[in-house]
């Protein structure tokens, strides 16, 4: 049958045209998203943007999307309190406002100080996790899809392993992940609504039936942050599912305190199980804390590192039936990096790196991480490298298909140089003496285009 109605289309455009398009984002001057903020003092900030409702003639923001964002933030935050030095902020826009003002590609550059507009930006080297998503309602069902980006400001997520004087660099396959679409019954949304009512309320005591008052807006929280009581909260302590917070009343300017019911906010059903991405986000907090600790020459406490690894594994368990292989691979890579930096469980870390490769065998970053970790650990323990030929072959392939060709070529060259230090009889014919030298010379002749 001939199509009789076509919906409006969308186009993927090359770079320059977007510069023109960005001018059309409209008035953002009175919207909270237009003045995003994080806790400068916090080592890691979680920022949750409202879920955008789609399916109409135009995407829109409604109560459900904004409330879902609040629940995601509160639930995640309540599960990661033990890490310390964390901030969490939920962005909002007034009802009926243009949702484009809350697009991640608009908000994130502000938070990183790349474009003006943020009240407080993330500091260099500190972690930032941004969560956003889309929401579709139909009859009794609601379908959502979440996305997340993680980073440390002005800091590469690459990491290095060394063999003697030779450095090998790798990085996660992606710092942006798409989670599988999830469906809820509206009855569950009603429970979210109820939990929103509870989470949006500060009690005098950690009991649901104690007196209290609604949370002041904007809703943001920070733990172990110094001198940052407004516009968010400072978390004093947590007791089970309850968080003890204090804040400055925006009208009286007096300090206030109370309890928020956060974790396990859905009656009879864990939000983490309904939304496996919360496990990923919680693991991601641990990953960033580990990377920040490593920068200081420190490591995350072992129990916390294991907790973060467990969150990633839990995410994969709940996500196994979906087609989100890339996201599962990133989860495995981040868990592997935590374990590799901890240094206690080499075999476990290698299994996690290899698990990522088995999910995305063509991904050059996954292949690199698995291979450079393996050779560095073999060298560390036995001063030897097995599978020299297949490793050289894989690193050569990575060098020809990686988007970071400089890093990939450096890894290959360093590997060949390491092989030159091995006894010649331990190497296969194709990698011995003059053959190795010719390969290194071939790499040295390469000039990458400047693009």
């Amino acid at each position: 049958m001939k199509p009789w109605l076509f919906n409006r289309c969308v186009a993927l455009l090359w770079t320059l045209l977007l510069l023109f398009c960005e001018l059309s984002f409209g008035d953002r001057s009175h919207q909270i998203c237009s003045n995003p903020s994080v806790f400068a003092d916090a080592e890691v900030n979680l920022v949750v943007l409202p879920y955008v409702s789609v399916g109409g003639s135009k995407s829109s923001l409604d109560d459900i999307g904004q409330r879902l964002a609040l629940i995601v933030k509160l639930d995640t935050f309540a599960h990661v309190l033990e890490y310390g030095s964390l901030g969490a902020t939920q962005m909002e826009v007034p009802q009926g406002a243009d949702p484009d003002t809350c697009l991640p590609q608009v908000v994130i550059p502000k938070l990183l100080g790349q474009t003006p507009g943020a009240d407080v930006t993330a500091e260099k080297g500190k972690g930032l996790i941004i969560v956003w998503g889309v929401l579709y309602e139909e009859d009794d069902d609601v379908v959502i899809q979440s996305y997340a980006r993680f980073l440390r400001r002005d800091t590469s997520e690459s990491l290095s392993f060394s063999i003697d004087k030779f450095n090998f660099m790798g990085q996660p396959s992606s710092q942006v992940v798409a989670f599988a679409p999830r469906a809820f019954k509206k009855s569950l949304l009603s429970e979210i609504e109820n939990s929103y009512q509870r989470a949006d309320f500060v009690h005098k005591e950690p009991k649901d039936d104690s007196e209290g008052e609604p949370l002041p807006r904007p809703v943001a929280k920070c733990i172990s942050c110094r001198g940052e009581l407004t516009p968010g909260f400072q978390v004093q302590e947590y007791k089970g599912e309850w968080i003890h917070v204090r804040w400055i009343d925006p009208i009286s300017r007096r300090e206030r305190e109370g309890w928020i019911h956060a974790a396990g906010s859905l009656v009879g059903k864990s939000l983490d199980n309904a939304l496996p991405e919360l496990h990923f986000i919680q693991g991601c907090v641990g990953y960033l804390k580990q990377r920040i600790a490593s920068m200081r020459g420190d490591t995350l406490p072992h129990a916390l590192a294991n907790a973060a690894t467990h969150e990633f594994q839990e995410f994969i368990n709940l996500n196994a039936s979906t087609e989100a292989k890339e996201t599962n691979a990133v989860a495995l890579e981040l868990a592997a990096i935590i374990q590799a930096l901890q240094g206690n469980d080499v075999k476990g870390a290698q299994q996690l790196f290899d698990g990522a490769v088995s999910l995305v065998p063509s991904d050059p970053n996954a292949v690199t991480l698995a291979n450079i970790y393996q050779i560095s650990q073999e060298w560390k323990t036995r001063k030897a490298i097995t599978n020299t030929e297949s490793t050289a072959d894989r690193l050569t392939k990575v060098a020809t298909v990686s988007r970071d060709a400089t890093m990939a070529l450096s890894n290959l060259r360093n590997f060949l140089q390491v092989l030159q230090t091995l006894p010649i009889e331990s190497l296969p014919k194709g990698l011995s003496g003059s053959a190795l030298q010719r390969k290194i010379q071939a790499i040295d002749r390469i000039e990458l285009p400047s693009s």
């Binding site: 409006r8 789609v54 050569t396």
Partner: protein, 209 residues
């Protein structure tokens, strides 16, 4: 006969899920914008002239949703890979909505992001940026291969055939991109050798374990 509002909403919602996926997973390599007010009347509208016009506007990929059968509740999603017109004509891919509900359709829709790296890669190839083209083309080929191998197209033989044709065409483009890159003695593609058939496959064709 007008489409049921529910069906129209569902098709729009599915398109918006796919668009958000494209927006996010293109990771700054390209940008996604809604073409407000643009309503393609028919697939036959995509003539050579229309492709030229889209190309001049620097459009790589156009996505639309359509309601094919307002009574039966069928719809489809169309993808126009503008740079692919010369290598895999007509470069128009229509995927019929399948699956018992919106969730299963949205889950299937996520894989359609494969069209983005292919469009970007062919664009680079046509602009003789061979070194940039290969990583995108190979990413697209691997995802397209996954799509063709999966069971999700089992009931949509037309889409399966279209995607198979595209796969063959893009493999030819990759081989030629590597061959052309190798004409420069300083290219990193000097590190690879052709297969027994003289063609250059993607380096990780079939994966690496």
């Amino acid at each position: 006969m007008p489409a049921k509002p529910a069906l129209q909403k569902q098709t729009s919602g599915l398109r918006d899920f796919i668009v958000e996926n494209l927006r996010t997973m293109s990771r700054g390599r390209a940008f996604v914008i809604p073409c407000r007010g643009r309503f393609p009347q028919d697939a036959t509208e995509y003539t050579d002239g229309e492709f030229d016009s889209l190309d001049n506007l620097r459009v790589l990929l156009e996505v639309w949703g359509s309601v094919d059968d307002p009574v039966g509740g069928r719809g489809s999603l169309g993808f126009v890979l503008v740079p692919a017109r010369s290598v895999a004509p007509p470069a128009l891919f229509v995927v019929r909505r399948s699956g018992r509900d919106f969730l299963s359709q949205a889950q299937q829709g996520a894989v359609l992001e494969m069209f983005a790296p292919i469009a970007i890669g062919i664009h680079d190839y046509q602009n003789r940026k061979f070194e940039d083209a290969v990583p995108n083309l190979c990413e697209g080929i691997n995802k397209l291969q996954d799509s063709v191998n999966s069971s999700r197209l089992a009931n949509d033989l037309a889409a399966l055939e279209e995607q198979n044709k595209l796969l063959i065409a893009v493999r030819r483009v990759v081989s030629d991109a590597i061959r052309q890159a190798r004409s420069d003695s300083r290219s990193r593609y000097q590190l690879v050798s052709p297969g027994s058939d003289g063609q250059f496959p993607c380096p990780f064709a079939g994966g690496a374990r």
